[in-house]
């Protein structure tokens, strides 16, 4: 916002309240009430507003108080945001960033535990990225803001409290690049967002058991970084996908299809995908825990795949 006067934020309670997860804390004090705009409760409409503003030259960042609420903005996102650059023949660009906390939290209830990346992945014209660490959050956010394409940036409700030392100076990450978290030889584990941490936890156990997993945080959900993923598959010949999406129609489902299509010859075993079940997220703590892939399940899956 400092660097470019056209960047503005709009959403519910993003102003002096600082946002539901305090992502926009103090920005209103610094940049004023107009640039950090509190909107009435109408997701389709403030997303529409951002689109109109973008078409007129601003670079708005739309915050969904919880990503799940952006389901109300589906019409604007699909029919206008993703489309208008194309249907206007390139005359109008829509450099919006749509972001917010999503994923399964701690007992937030089904409506506040949506994984929108599943629903939005088909929309032509939008890009999707998921951040998972303070380091990549900063880099991806900057990249998303500077991109001329509409970008949906998926943050996770449970990752806001992570602490990490990151460079003060500016850096911009590539929106289409995956991140090599742990190089290895035996198996490629593809994951993103919060599941990265479950995978890394499982990796510790796996290393103790003598396995050498290669962990890649795919980061770019649309399009997939098939270059990095491909190189890994060619090396390890075994793929495990660990995601938080539901089994049906999730990111894992699309990724499985892509890997099968492009790297079939390199696979020594079928691609295994660990996802959440096709159920609304229950409120009860234990039930909720078991609707999300757990490290023990990841360990078991790797052991089975590497047999």
């Amino acid at each position: 916002m400092e660097r470019d006067a056209r960047v503005c934020v709009m959403g519910e309670d993003v102003g002096h309240y600082g946002g539901s997860y305090k992502v926009t804390k103090d920005l209103a004090n610094k940049y004023g009430d107009l640039r950090v705009l509190d909107t009435p409760i109408a997701e389709n409409s403030f997303t529409g507003m951002a689109i109109g503003a973008a078409m007129t030259g601003l670079r708005p960042i739309v915050e969904g108080m919880n990503m799940g609420f952006l389901l109300l903005a589906f019409n604007q996102i699909s029919n206008n945001c993703g489309m208008l650059h194309y249907t206007s023949g390139g005359q109008f660009t829509i450099p919006v960033v749509i972001r917010g906390p999503g994923g399964v939290g701690r007992q937030l209830g089904a409506e506040h535990s949506q994984r929108l990346e599943s629903y939005f992945q088909s929309i032509p014209g939008i890009q999707m990225v998921a951040c998972s660490t303070p380091y990549n959050a900063k880099g991806l956010m900057k990249a998303a803001i500077r991109s001329e394409n509409p970008v949906i940036l998926f943050e996770h409700v449970l990752l806001y409290n992570l602490k990490e030392r990151i460079p003060d100076e500016e850096y911009v990450l590539n929106l289409e690049e995956a991140e090599m978290v742990r190089p290895g030889e035996h198996i490629t584990i593809l994951t993103y967002s919060r599941m990265r941490y479950h995978v890394m936890q499982a990796a510790k156990t796996l290393v103790n058991k003598g396995y050498d997993p290669e962990v890649i945080d795919i980061r770019s959900l649309k399009p997939f970084d098939l270059h990095t993923i491909g190189n890994s598959v060619k090396k390890t010949h075994r793929v495990l996908i660990v995601e938080e999406c539901m089994r049906t129609g999730g990111i894992g489902a699309s990724l499985t299809a892509a890997i099968n299509e492009y790297f079939h010859d390199y696979l020594d075993a079928p691609v295994v995908c660990l996802s959440s079940q096709d159920v609304p997220t229950p409120y009860a703590g234990t039930l909720e825990e078991w609707t999300v892939v757990q490290p023990t399940q990841i360990v078991t899956a790797v052991e089975q795949l590497c047999r």
Binding site: P40, S45, F46, G48, G52
Partner: protein, 486 residues
């Protein structure tokens, strides 16, 4: 003490008015089940007055006095209102989130329909004569002639392109017949810097701004010269250099987008406003309500123009909303609004000019409801004679035609003649037919346009998909249209 007396006095007066009528021989009206019946659909007050819906009361009352009683109570009520208003100011007001409200101890529901519908602003009568004492913005001869010839051009363009669709030369079309005054007069009242977000029945605005007949035809034929690169169906015009946002088929989505565009203008402190159009049907969409609400809250300089043409495909306004049209909705959102005779070009022009001024200088939204009639079918996919009478359509096409009405005014000023008229029509027709021929013969956009502009630059998956498509085409050249370049 004094206050109480005042109130009770008026109560006595009120009761007297009621009692007076109950001296009517048919005492049954008092015992009439309709006003003590909570199931009665209209709102009834504590005193049994069937305020909002005299008809149903009449229906139940065996006497004629039902309506007269209603009348007197009406005036009695008015006085009562004043009394309460005055006493209210002297009473304590209460602080609530949102402000100070004075209270009343009488439980009274606001009627769902006003006694009278909001009148519509009008300048010219059907003979093209300015109505006495009408206030309007003067229009110069040059301006008036430009407006008139644009209206004629729009009508001609619509007629010919509609026919072109019927002949199978283009795939789809929709006309603005009957709404030429709204199209052109609103456009004339704006400056080229004002950003326009259309619904889809406002090509006249683009025409006014200089979009040529050739450019219109190119878009309809989806050829290489189309600014949309052949990606949208006909009438989905868009031109950033004319500040006219590309038409998106979705209804009312442009309404909140207009707020965003206005927000942008506000940030840049530009001397311009945003104008967005929608129909009566569009006001039912959620985006309309949220968009207007946003505009009011954000003090956005947007002029909202509702083309209330009576029909949303086959749905008449009586099935679209139960309010007094669209103008009353402005008040609900805290927006100044006006109702205008949409077939009166001068009224439309004046109201739009005034609205624009207010929107920019006072930084707030304005709502204009323009009453008109959709003379044409909804589109080429519709035959409106199936759901509305042909003579109704004819009436609006002829007797209520906005172009002929404006023509009469222009004629009376001595600015136009029959000869000018026929020359203009012949010229426009010729130009348009020529443009259509050129557009039809022009090359179609190449296949690469299928993949470009989805993103700023082609991502790998689209590159690949394009390659696959090209391979397919090479393999089956006979299945690929010969007039589309690869």
């Amino acid at each position: 003490m004094a206050i109480w007396l005042r109130r009770s006095r008026s109560l006595a007066h009120y009761l007297k008015a009621e009692i007076g009528f109950w001296k009517v021989p048919n005492q049954r009206s008092f015992l009439n089940p309709c006003f003590f019946n909570p199931e009665n659909s209209s709102s009834t007050t504590l005193t049994g007055e069937n305020y909002g819906n005299p008809a149903s009361f009449l229906g139940n009352s065996p006497t004629l006095f039902g309506s007269r009683r209603f009348e007197s109570i009406k005036s009695g009520r008015e006085e009562l209102d004043l009394e309460y208003e005055n006493s209210g100011h002297q009473n304590q007001a209460m602080d609530f989130p949102g402000g100070r409200i004075s209270f009343t101890s009488e439980m009274k529901f606001i009627s769902e329909s006003p006694r009278e519908r909001i009148p519509c602003y009008r300048v010219l009568d059907y003979d093209g004569l300015p109505i006495m004492h009408s206030s309007f913005v003067e229009v110069s001869k040059e301006e008036a002639l430009k407006m008139f010839s644009s209206m004629v051009t729009l009508e001609t363009m619509d007629t010919i392109l509609y026919e072109a669709q019927r002949q199978g030369r283009i795939s789809f079309y929709l006309t603005s017949i009957g709404e030429e005054a709204i199209n052109i007069a609103t456009a004339a009242a704006l400056t080229p810097h004002d950003v326009v977000l259309p619904q889809y029945r406002e090509p006249g605005v683009l025409l006014w701004r200089g979009f040529t007949l050739q450019e219109f035809s190119n878009q309809c034929f989806g050829n290489k010269a189309d600014y949309g690169k052949g990606r949208q169906m006909p009438i989905h015009y868009g031109s950033n250099k004319h500040n006219y946002f590309t038409v998106s088929s979705t209804i009312a989505t442009q309404i909140p987008q207009a707020v965003g565009a206005a927000y942008s203008l506000k940030m840049d402190k530009k001397d311009a406003c945003v104008v967005t159009y929608f129909g009566d049907g569009g006001t039912s969409e959620g985006d309309f309500h949220a968009g207007l609400n946003f505009a009011a809250v954000m003090e956005a300089p947007v002029v909202y123009i509702c083309r209330n043409n009576g029909w949303a495909i086959s749905t008449p306004v009586s099935q679209q909303f139960r309010s007094d049209g669209v103008v009353v909705k402005g008040k609900a959102y805290g927006i100044q609004s006006i109702r205008v005779d949409g077939n009166d070009a001068l009224a439309v022009y004046s109201a739009t000019r005034a609205a624009r001024e207010m929107a920019i200088t006072e930084q707030k939204p304005i709502l204009i409801e323009m009453l008109t009639y959709r003379v044409g079918h909804h589109s080429t996919s519709d035959d409106s004679t199936k759901y509305r009478p042909v003579d109704e359509i004819e009436h609006w096409k002829t007797a209520r035609n906005p172009i002929s009405r404006f023509r009469k005014w222009v004629d009376k000023n001595g600015w136009w003649s029959d000869k000018d008229e026929s020359e203009l029509r012949v010229n426009v027709r010729k130009q348009l037919l020529q443009a259509i021929q050129v557009a039809e013969k022009a090359e179609k956009p190449p296949i690469s346009n299928l993949f470009t502009d989805v993103y700023e630059s082609l991502p790998s998956n689209l590159c690949e998909q394009e390659e696959l498509l090209r391979e397919s085409i090479k393999r089956h050249p006979q299945d690929y249209p010969s007039d589309v370049p690869v």
